[in-house]
C-alpha cells in the first residue's frame, strides 16, 4: 500500500537517512524501532513531506507521492500523530478534532466521525469543552490519535505514541493501536518501546544511524539475539 524506496534525507550537512526501503501492506501494523537519532522520526516526516527528501521515492497505492505537498498527502488519506502529541493546547478538545478534519468538506461525515472518536475515547467526550492543554498526558495522546483519525486515514503514522506516559497508559495506547488495526486501519508505528512495538507489529524494521540493519515479522525479531541485546535489554 505504501512503499518507500531508497529514501535519503539530509538536514544541512548532516545525513539523517541513507537509503531506507519500507513496504507497508494494507491492514498491517508496521513498526520502526531504533535508538535515539537513528532516523525513525525523519522517515515519517519525509513521507509526510514535512522535511525535504534528498533522493528516493514514496509510492502510495502505486502512485508516485514523492513530491506531493503535505496537504494533498493528508487529503489522500495518510495521517500523522506527531511526536510529543502536539495538540492545539489553547483550543478545546472538540476544536482539535474539527481541525483534524481540515482537509475534508463533508460536514455530515465529519460530525459522524467526531461521534465515533468519542465512542472510542469516552474520556474525550467528557472533556469535549475543555482546553486541550488542561488534559493529562494520556488524554492528550488520545486526542492526538483522535485528531489524526478525523483525517479519515487509510494509513495512520504514529510517532512515539507512548513517549512520556505512565506504564498503565502505555498499555492503553497499544490496545488502541490494536483496535484501530481491527477496524481496518493500516499503521506505521515509530517506537522506542521496542518490546511492546514488536509484540504488536506484523512486520518490523530496525534502524541504526539512518540505515536499515534488520527486518522481519515482529515476533521473529523479538526472538532475534541482536535485537534482544541492543533493544530489549536481554543480557547475553
Amino acid at each position: 500500500m505504501l512503499q518507500v524506496i531508497d529514501l535519503h534525507v539530509n538536514y544541512g550537512g548532516i545525513t539523517a537517512l541513507r537509503g531506507i526501503n519500507l513496504t507497508i501492506e494494507e491492514n498491517q501494523i508496521v513498526t520502526l524501532i531504533g535508538a535515539n537519532g537513528a532516523g525513525k522520526s525523519s522517515t515519517l516526516r519525509a513521507i509526510m513531506g514535512l522535511v525535504p527528501k534528498a533522493s528516493g521515492k514514496v509510492l502510495y497505492k502505486d502512485e508516485d507521492f514523492t513530491n506531493v505537498p503535505t496537504k494533498d498527502i493528508v487529503a489522500s488519506g495518510i495521517a500523522m500523530v506527531p511526536e510529543g502529541r502536539r495538540v492545539f493546547a489553547d483550543l478545546t478538545v472538540e476544536e482539535n478534532l474539527v481541525l483534524g478534519a481540515y482537509t475534508r468538506t463533508d460536514q455530515k461525515a465529519i460530525a459522524k466521525d467526531i461521534k465515533s472518536v468519542y465512542e472510542t475515547f469516552p474520556r474525550l467526550k467528557e472533556r469535549s469543552w475543555q482546553k486541550a492543554g488542561t488534559l493529562s498526558g494520556g488524554e492528550q495522546q488520545m486526542l492526538a490519535v483522535g485528531r489524526a483519525l478525523m483525517v479519515n486515514p487509510k494509513i495512520l503514522m504514529m510517532d512515539e505514541p507512548s513517549l512520556g506516559l505512565a506504564p498503565l497508559l502505555v498499555k492503553d495506547i497499544f490496545e488502541i493501536i490494536d483496535l484501530l488495526r481491527e477496524r481496518g486501519n493500516t499503521i506505521l508505528l515509530v517506537e522506542q518501546n521496542a518490546r511492546k512495538a514488536l509484540e504488536i507489529a506484523d512486520y518490523a524494521y530496525v534502524l541504526e544511524t539512518g540505515q536499515l540493519v534488520l527486518e522481519g515479522p515482529g515476533k521473529t525479531l523479538l526472538e532475534d539475539q541482536r535485537v534482544q541485546e541492543a533493544y530489549l535489554g536481554v543480557a547475553r
Partner: protein, 339 residues
C-alpha cells in the same frame, strides 16, 4: 435555542449602539463626540492587529505603516482639487492624481485594498520569519513607509503633510466600520479559515500535519489585518483633516498593541472593550497634565503626567489580568465550534 438567544443579544447590542450614537451626536459636545469617533477607529485597529498577532500568532509591529498607507490614500483621493493645488506648493502633485476627487466610501475601500496589497507584497517574503525576527522586519517596514512618505514630495507632499482633508468621518462611519470589522472577524474565526489560523498559532508542525497550508493562511491573515488597518488609517485622516508622516511612528503601533494585550490575545470582546477604555482613558486622564489646586497645595502641571499614570494603571492591569480583561466565560468566549 442557544443560537437564537445569541442572535437576539447581538441585535440588542446593535440597536443600543445605534441609539447610543444617535444620542451622543445629539447631546454631547464635539470633544466627546471626537473621543467616541477615536474609540470606534481604535476598535477597528485593535481587532485588525489582534487578527494578525493574537489569532494567527504572528508578532507583527507594522500597523502604523499600513495605517499611513490608508490615511494617505484617503487623504489624496478625497481632497478637493483646489485644495490639492494649495497643499502641493513646493512641488505640484503627480498629474494622474491632480484631478481626482473621490467619495469617502470608495476612497476607504481603496485605502484598505492598497494596504492589503502591500501587506501581501511585504508578507510573502517576511512571513517566513517567526517571532522576534518578524517583529523586527515589520517594524522596519513601517519605518520605511514613513521615510518614503517624507521624501515623495509630489505624491504625499513630504514632511509638510496633507492639510484640508474633508472631515467625512463621523460616528456613523467610525462605528459603522468598527461593526463591519467585528462582524467580519467573528465570521472569519467561526469558519474553516479562522480555525486554521488558530491551529497555525498553536502549533505549526501539527497544523502542517493536519494538511494546513501554513504560508497561505499566514499571508491571508496578514492581508485581512492590513486591509482593516488601512481603512482605519483612512478614517483617521477623515477625522483629523490633517496628516503628516510623523503621526505614524512606532508609538502608534504600541498604542494598538496595548489594546490587543489588554483585551487579550485572540479575543474579540476583550479587544473592543480595551479599545474604548484605552482611548477614553487617555482623554479623561488629561486633567493630570494641568496644574491642580488641592486646597492646601498647588501642584504645577507636568506635561506627560497622564502617560505616567496611565502606564502604571496598565502595568497593574496586565499583572492582575495577564490573559486580558475578559476571562473566558466558562470556556465559551473563544470557541467557535457549534455544540
Amino acid at each position: 435555542m442557544r443560537e437564537k438567544n445569541k442572535r437576539h443579544v447581538t441585535l440588542l447590542i446593535l440597536a443600543l449602539t445605534i441609539l447610543g450614537l444617535f444620542l451622543a451626536n445629539r447631546f454631547l459636545d464635539p470633544y466627546k463626540v471626537r473621543v467616541i469617533n477615536l474609540s470606534g477607529i481604535y476598535v477597528t485597529l485593535g481587532l485588525s492587529m489582534n487578527l494578525i498577532n493574537g489569532m494567527t500568532g504572528m508578532f507583527s509591529l507594522g500597523h502604523a505603516g499600513f495605517m499611513a498607507v490608508g490615511a494617505y490614500t484617503v487623504g489624496i483621493l478625497t481632497m478637493p482639487i483646489t485644495m490639492k493645488e494649495m497643499n502641493f506648493f513646493m512641488q505640484p502633485i503627480v498629474p494622474f492624481l491632480a484631478n481626482v476627487e473621490w467619495g469617502f466610501l470608495p476612497a476607504l475601500i481603496a485605502a484598505g485594498l492598497i494596504s492589503a496589497l502591500l501587506g501581501v507584497l511585504i508578507g510573502a517574503p517576511v512571513l517566513r520569519l517567526t517571532d522576534d525576527y518578524l517583529a523586527i522586519a515589520t517594524l522596519g517596514f513601517a519605518e520605511i513607509i514613513r521615510v518614503v512618505f517624507t521624501n515623495t514630495q509630489s505624491l504625499t507632499n513630504g514632511a509638510l503633510g496633507l492639510k484640508g482633508i474633508p472631515n467625512y468621518t463621523n460616528t456613523w462611519w467610525s462605528w459603522g466600520v468598527a461593526l463591519v470589522t467585528i462582524w467580519f472577524i467573528s465570521y472569519l474565526m467561526r469558519g474553516t479559515y479562522g480555525k486554521a489560523f488558530l491551529a497555525v498559532r498553536e502549533d505549526e508542525v501539527a497544523a502542517r500535519a493536519m494538511g494546513i497550508n501554513l504560508f497561505k493562511h499566514k499571508v491571508m491573515s496578514f492581508a485581512f489585518g492590513c486591509f482593516f488597518a488601512g481603512v482605519a488609517g483612512g478614517l483617521m485622516a477623515g477625522l483629523l483633516g490633517t496628516i503628516d508622516p510623523n503621526m505614524f511612528r512606532i508609538t502608534l503601533t504600541f498604542n494598538i498593541l496595548l489594546i490587543v494585550v489588554l483585551g487579550g490575545l485572540g479575543k474579540i470582546g476583550g479587544t473592543i472593550i480595551a479599545a474604548v477604555i484605552v482611548t477614553a482613558g487617555m482623554e479623561t486622564l488629561r486633567f493630570l497634565d494641568e496644574s491642580m489646586d488641592l486646597g492646601f497645595v498647588q501642584i504645577k502641571g507636568i506635561p506627560g503626567m497622564r502617560m505616567v499614570v496611565f502606564s502604571i494603571i496598565l502595568i497593574v492591569a496586565v499583572i492582575l489580568r495577564e490573559k486580558g480583561l475578559l476571562r473566558r466565560p466558562k470556556g465559551r468566549e473563544f470557541t467557535y465550534v457549534k455544540n
